[in-house]
C-alpha cells in the first residue's frame, strides 16, 4: 500500500528536513512552498479521473499569501478534499491556536521543535502504524526540490 504526503511550508529548510525524515520510511513527499499553490495542486489532482490525492497533508501556519488556517478552512469546504487528514506543523504551541485549528478540522498538531520520531508518531497516530511501515526504506536517496509545486 502506498502512502503519499503533501507538505506545505514556505521554509526550504523544513521541507528538506521533513522530506529526509520521511525518505527513511520510504514515504514520498509532494512539496509546496505556498498554501495557494498547494490548494491549486490538490484541486487539480482531485479533478483527475484517478483522483490520486495525498493520504495526508502537513502544513505550516505562518505563510505568505494564504496562512495555514485559511488553507485548512478551504480544504474542508471542498467536498473532494475534505476527507484528507491534516497535521499542522507550527512553532505556535498555544492551546488557543491548537483549538482553533482543531475546530477548523485539523486532525493533528505538531509543535516545533519536534524530533524525527515525533513526526513519525504523529503520522502513525492518524494513519495507523501499518500504513506508515509498508514501504521499502530509501534513506540513501538524495533529496531535491524537483517536485516542488
Amino acid at each position: 500500500m502506498s502512502l503519499d504526503v503533501m507538505l506545505v511550508d514556505d521554509s526550504s529548510a523544513i521541507r528538506k528536513m521533513i522530506r529526509r525524515v520521511l525518505d527513511v520510511s520510504g514515504i514520498p513527499v509532494q512539496q509546496c512552498r505556498e498554501a495557494t499553490s498547494g490548494l491549486d495542486a490538490l484541486r487539480q489532482l482531485a479533478g483527475q479521473a484517478a483522483g490520486p490525492t495525498p493520504d495526508i497533508i502537513l502544513t505550516d501556519i505562518n505563510m505568505p499569501e494564504m496562512d495555514g488556517e485559511t488553507f485548512v478552512r478551504e480544504l474542508r469546504r471542498d467536498s473532494r478534499l475534505a476527507h484528507i487528514p491534516v497535521i499542522v506543523v507550527s512553532t505556535d504551541s498555544t492551546s488557543l491556536r491548537r483549538h482553533r485549528l482543531e475546530a477548523l478540522g485539523a486532525q493533528g498538531y505538531l509543535s516545533k521543535p519536534f524530533t524525527p520520531e515525533s513526526l513519525r508518531d504523529e503520522l502513525e497516530k492518524i494513519l495507523g502504524h501499518e500504513r506508515c511501515q509498508t514501504q521499502t526504506p530509501n534513506a540513501t536517496e538524495d533529496t531535491h526540490d524537483d517536485d516542488l509545486f
Partner: protein, 166 residues
C-alpha cells in the same frame, strides 16, 4: 479591549524563558545541547543572521546571530548529514532562518497569557531601527562557538495589533 502580555513586562522572567527556548530548540531539533547559556547578548564577528517580525498582543522583532562555524554544524545536524559534509551558503542561511523562526515562536508560546502571535517570514539580519531597543537577549555556547538571540518591542503598537488578531 487592551491585552497585556505580562511576561514581556518582566525582563528577568522573559530572559529566562528565552534562554529556555534556546536550549530546548537546540537540543530537540539540532541535537546540540548548549554548553553554556547566558541571559545577555554576545557579540559575534561575521555572524550569519536572521530577523523576523511578530504581531499579536505585542508587536516587535526578533533577531538571531550565529557564528559561521556553528551555523554550518547546525545545518548539517538539521538535515541529518554527516559532519564531514559541507552545507551550501543557501542551505546554512535557510537553517538559520528556520532556527530564528522556531526559537521566536517557542519563546512567544511560553508567555503566560498564551496569546496567539503571527510571525513574518525570516529575512537577513538588520539591526533594530531607532526606537526599537533590545528588550531581551540570550546566548548559547555550543561546540566552542556562540549564537545570540535578541528581541525588541515596538512601543504603542500593542493594542491595535491585539485587536487585529483576535
Amino acid at each position: 479591549m487592551t491585552t497585556t502580555c505580562s511576561d514581556l513586562d518582566h525582563p528577568g522572567l522573559s530572559r529566562e524563558r528565552l534562554r529556555d527556548a534556546l536550549e530546548v530548540v537546540l537540543e530537540t531539533m539540532f541535537f546540540l545541547p548548549p554548553d553554556d547559556l547566558r541571559a545577555e547578548p554576545v557579540e559575534i564577528p561575521a555572524a550569519v543572521g536572521a530577523q523576523l517580525r511578530f504581531t499579536g498582543a505585542r508587536t516587535g522583532g526578533f533577531g538571531l546571530l550565529v557564528s559561521p562555524g556553528l551555523a554550518q554544524t547546525l545545518a548539517l545536524n538539521f538535515y541529518g548529514e554527516l559532519s564531514s559534509d559541507i552545507a551550501s551558503a543557501a542551505e546554512v542561511e535557510a537553517v538559520v532562518f528556520e532556527l530564528a523562526n522556531v526559537i521566536c515562536g517557542n519563546f512567544l508560546s511560553r508567555l503566560e497569557a498564551g496569546d496567539v502571535f503571527s510571525l513574518s517570514a525570516p529575512q537577513p539580519w538588520e539591526p533594530p531601527a531607532r526606537g526599537e531597543d533590545i528588550a531581551i537577549a540570550a546566548s548559547a555556547f555550543c561546540e566552542g562557538e556562540w549564537l545570540s538571540a535578541r528581541l525588541w518591542l515596538l512601543a504603542g503598537a500593542a493594542d491595535s495589533a491585539s485587536e487585529e488578531h483576535r
